[in-house]
C-alpha cells in the first residue's frame, strides 16, 4: 500500500501533465482570461479553509475564517472578472 503522500505525488505529477497538454493550445487572445480563470481555480483552497473554520478550537477557527474570506475573494472575484472579460469577447459572435 502506497503512503497517501506518494499517491498524492502521483496525482500531482499527472495533473501537471494534463494541464500542460491542455494549455499549450490556448490562443494568445485568451491568455488574460485564462490567467484569471486559472487564478479563480486556485481558490480551491476554500475546501481546506472551510475545514479549518469549523474547528472547535478558537484560534484555529478564527484563522480558518480569515482563510475562508481570502479564498472566497479569490473565487468569486476571479470567476466574475473572467466572465466580464469573456462576455466582451463573445459579443460579436
Amino acid at each position: 500500500m502506497l503512503s497517501p503522500l506518494l499517491i498524492g505525488l502521483y496525482v500531482f505529477v499527472l495533473a501537471v501533465f494534463v494541464g500542460r497538454e491542455l494549455l499549450t493550445k490556448v490562443p494568445h487572445t485568451l491568455h488574460t482570461p485564462l490567467m484569471s480563470g486559472a487564478n479563480a481555480i486556485s481558490g480551491i483552497t476554500i475546501v481546506g479553509a472551510l475545514t479549518c473554520a469549523s474547528f472547535g478550537s478558537k484560534p484555529a477557527a478564527i484563522i480558518g475564517m480569515l482563510a475562508v474570506t481570502a479564498a472566497m475573494i479569490n473565487v468569486v472575484g476571479g470567476y466574475l472578472v473572467t466572465d466580464r472579460m469573456l462576455k466582451k469577447f463573445q459579443r460579436r459572435d
Binding site: P4, L5, G8, V11, V13, A15, F17, V18, L22, L23, K25, P27, H28, T29, L30, H31, T32, L34, M35, G37, A38, N39, A40, I41, S42, I44, T45, V47, L50, T51, C52, A53, S54, F55, G56, S57, A60, A61, I62, I63, M65, V68, T69, A70, M72, N74, V75, V76, G77, Y79, L80, V81, D83, M85, L86, K88, F89, Q90, R92, D93
Partner: protein, 497 residues
C-alpha cells in the same frame, strides 16, 4: 456519506479539467468559465457536507467568512476597469496565497491542541474521540502518544506556508508596482540572493520545527515558530518581487499565479485531498506555461527577468537628437492618403483608455477603404493577452488583430504605422545594438513602414531606460499627448479631409 463527498470532489476535478480545456477557444470560453465556477460550487457544498458530517461546526464563523469574501470579491470584480485587470488578477492571486498559508497555520494549531486534549484524556484513563474534522485517516492512525500530524504533514505544511506567503506579498508588490503606488524601478539589496536563501531556510526551518521541537504544554512556542515562518515567508515574497522592474511585472504575476496553484496543491497534501492537488497543479501548469510564453516573447530566460539588473551601459542615456514632432493634423493628412495602416497598441493605450477612440478612428479609415490592421506584440500591455482584452472591449473585429509573427513582414508594405503608447516593443535597437538590454527581443518593425506616427505623452524613456531609435528616424513623427486626446483629434481632423 464519505463516498458521496469524495465522488463529488472527483466530479469537480473532472469539471475543472473540462473547464480549462474549453477555455482554449473563444466560442466555448464563457461556458468553460461557468463550468469551472460550477465545479467550485460543488466542491464548496461537498466540503460543507463533509464538515457538517464530522461534528459540531461554528456555522457563524464559516458563514461570516463566506459572505464577507464573496461580497469583497464581487465588488472588486464588477467595478474594475478593463485597464486595471492585471493589478486585480495579481491581488486575487495574493488572496489565494494568503488562504493557503492561513489554512496551513490553522491546521497545525488545531492538530497540536487536539493532540494535547487527546493525551490528557488518555492519561485520565478515558477513551474519547477528539473531533478531528478533516484530518486524514493516515494521521488519525498515529493518534496516541504521537502528534496527530505525521512528518509528511510537517513538510507539506511548511511548504504551504512558504508558497502561500510568497504568493501573497509578491502579488501585493506586483499590484503596487502596476498600480503606480510603488515605483516600477528595480530595487536591489546588498546580498539579495543570500537574503532570499536565508529567508527560505528560516521559513521552512521554523515551519518544520513547529512539529518536532514543541513540547506539550508550551503552545506559545508553537505560535512563535509559526509566526516566524509566516513573517519570513512574507518578507521573502517582497524581496522576491522588488528587483523585478515594472515592465516585467506581468511575468511575475503569471509566475505567482503558478505559485498560488502550487500552494493550493500543497494544501491538498496537508489534507490528503486529491481535488486540491489536481486543481492546484492545473493552475500551477497554466501559470508556468504563460510565464514561459512571455519570457520567449522577450527572448530572455526567466532567471534574467527575475534576477538581472538592467545594465545602463552604452549609449542608452544619450539625449534624443533630430526628433520630429507633429500635431494631429499631420497624422490625419497622412492617414487620409494611406491605403495600408497598422496600429501598434501598447501600455499607453491602456493607461490612456484610448481603445474606444482608436476603434472609432479605425472605423473611419475603413469607410474610406483603408486596410486597417492591429499588430499585437506578445508582451504589449501589462499581462499576456492584455491588448486583446482591451480591443475586444472596444469591439475591434478579431480579423483585424494580428500576432507579431503574422504581421511583422508586412510593415514594409504599409503606408503608415501608428504606435499608440508602445515603446520597447517597437525599438529597433533590439535588432542591431548589442549593448541594448532589449537586444534579441523580437519587435514590431514600425520603422519599416513608409511613415510612422508615435503617440506618446513624452520622450521619457521606457522602463529599460533605453533610447528608442525609432523616435529619431526620419520617417517618424512624434505626436505628444495622451493617447485618447490625440486619437480623437486625429479623427476630428480626418473628417475635414
Amino acid at each position: 456519506m464519505q463516498t458521496l463527498i469524495h465522488v463529488t470532489y472527483m466530479v469537480a476535478s473532472v469539471l475543472f479539467i473540462v473547464g480549462i480545456k474549453r477555455l482554449s477557444a473563444v466560442k466555448t470560453a464563457r461556458s468553460a468559465n461557468a463550468i469551472s465556477a460550477f465545479a467550485m460550487l460543488l466542491a464548496i457544498v461537498a466540503a460543507m457536507l463533509d464538515i457538517a458530517h464530522q461534528g459540531e461546526i461554528a456555522w457563524l464563523w464559516v458563514g461570516m467568512g463566506l459572505v464577507a469574501g464573496s461580497a469583497i470579491g464581487a465588488y472588486l470584480a464588477l467595478t474594475v476597469r478593463m485597464e486595471g485587470m492585471p493589478e486585480l488578477v495579481g491581488f486575487f492571486n495574493g488572496m489565494g496565497g494568503l488562504a493557503s498559508s492561513l489554512v496551513a497555520v490553522s491546521m497545525s494549531i488545531f492538530a497540536w491542541i487536539a493532540w494535547g486534549e487527546l493525551l490528557s484524556a488518555q492519561t485520565a484513563g478515558m477513551t474519547t474521540t477528539v473531533g478531528v474534522a478533516g484530518l486524514p485517516e493516515a494521521a488519525a492512525e498515529t493518534r496516541g502518544a504521537a502528534p496527530l500530524l505525521t512528518p509528511d504533514n510537517a513538510i507539506t505544511i511548511a511548504l504551504s506556508i512558504l508558497v502561500g506567503g510568497v504568493t501573497l506579498t509578491g502579488s501585493l508588490v506586483a499590484w503596487a508596482k502596476l498600480k503606480g503606488v510603488m515605483s516600477g524601478g528595480q530595487i536591489f539589496l546588498p546580498g539579495h540572493k543570500a537574503i532570499n536563501l536565508v529567508l527560505l531556510v528560516i521559513t521552512l526551518g521554523a515551519g518544520i520545527a513547529a512539529f518536532f521541537v514543541v513540547p506539550l504544554g508550551s503552545i506559545t512556542l508553537l505560535y512563535q515558530l509559526l509566526a516566524v515562518a509566516v513573517v519570513a515567508s512574507f518578507i521573502l515574497g517582497v524581496t522576491f518581487a522588488i528587483p523585478v522592474g515594472g515592465a516585467d511585472m506581468p511575468v511575475v504575476i503569471s509566475l505567482l499565479n503558478s505559485f498560488s496553484g502550487i500552494a493550493a496543491a500543497m494544501t491538498g497534501f496537508v489534507l490528503y485531498n486529491n481535488l486540491l492537488i489536481i486543481s492546484g497543479s492545473l493552475v500551477g501548469a497554466a501559470g508556468m506555461i504563460l510565464t514561459i510564453i512571455m519570457c520567449r516573447g522577450m527572448n530572455r530566460p526567466l532567471t534574467n527577468v527575475l534576477f538581472a539588473k538592467f545594465s545602463l551601459t552604452g549609449g542608452d542615456k544619450e539625449e534624443y537628437i533630430n526628433v520630429k514632432s507633429g500635431d494631429p493634423v499631420d497624422a490625419a493628412i497622412a492617414l487620409a492618403n494611406a491605403s495600408n495602416v497598422i496600429f501598434v497598441p501598447g501600455y499607453g493605450l491602456a493607461a490612456g483608455q484610448a481603445q474606444h477612440a482608436t476603434r472609432e478612428l479605425a472605423d473611419m479609415l475603413e469607410e474610406r477603404g483603408v486596410n486597417v490592421r492591429y499588430a499585437i506584440h506578445e508582451v504589449a500591455g501589462r499581462m499576456p493577452g492584455h491588448m486583446n482584452v482591451l480591443l475586444a472591449e472596444a469591439n475591434v473585429p478579431y480579423d483585424q488583430l494580428y500576432k507579431r509573427e503574422d504581421i511583422e513582414a508586412d510593415f514594409k508594405n504599409s503606408d503608415v504605422a501608428v504606435v499608440i503608447g508602445a515603446n520597447d516593443v517597437v525599438n529597433p535597437a533590439a535588432l542591431d545594438d548589442e549593448n541594448c538590454p532589449l537586444y534579441g527581443m523580437p519587435i514590431l518593425p514600425a520603422h519599416e513602414a513608409q511613415q510612422a506616427f508615435v503617440i506618446k505623452r513624452s520622450l521619457a524613456a521606457g522602463f529599460a531606460g533605453m533610447k528608442n531609435t525609432l523616435f529619431e528616424s526620419d520617417k517618424t513623427l512624434m505626436v505628444f499627448g495622451s493617447a485618447k486626446d490625440v486619437i480623437s483629434s486625429i479623427s476630428e481632423e480626418l473628417k475635414q479631409q
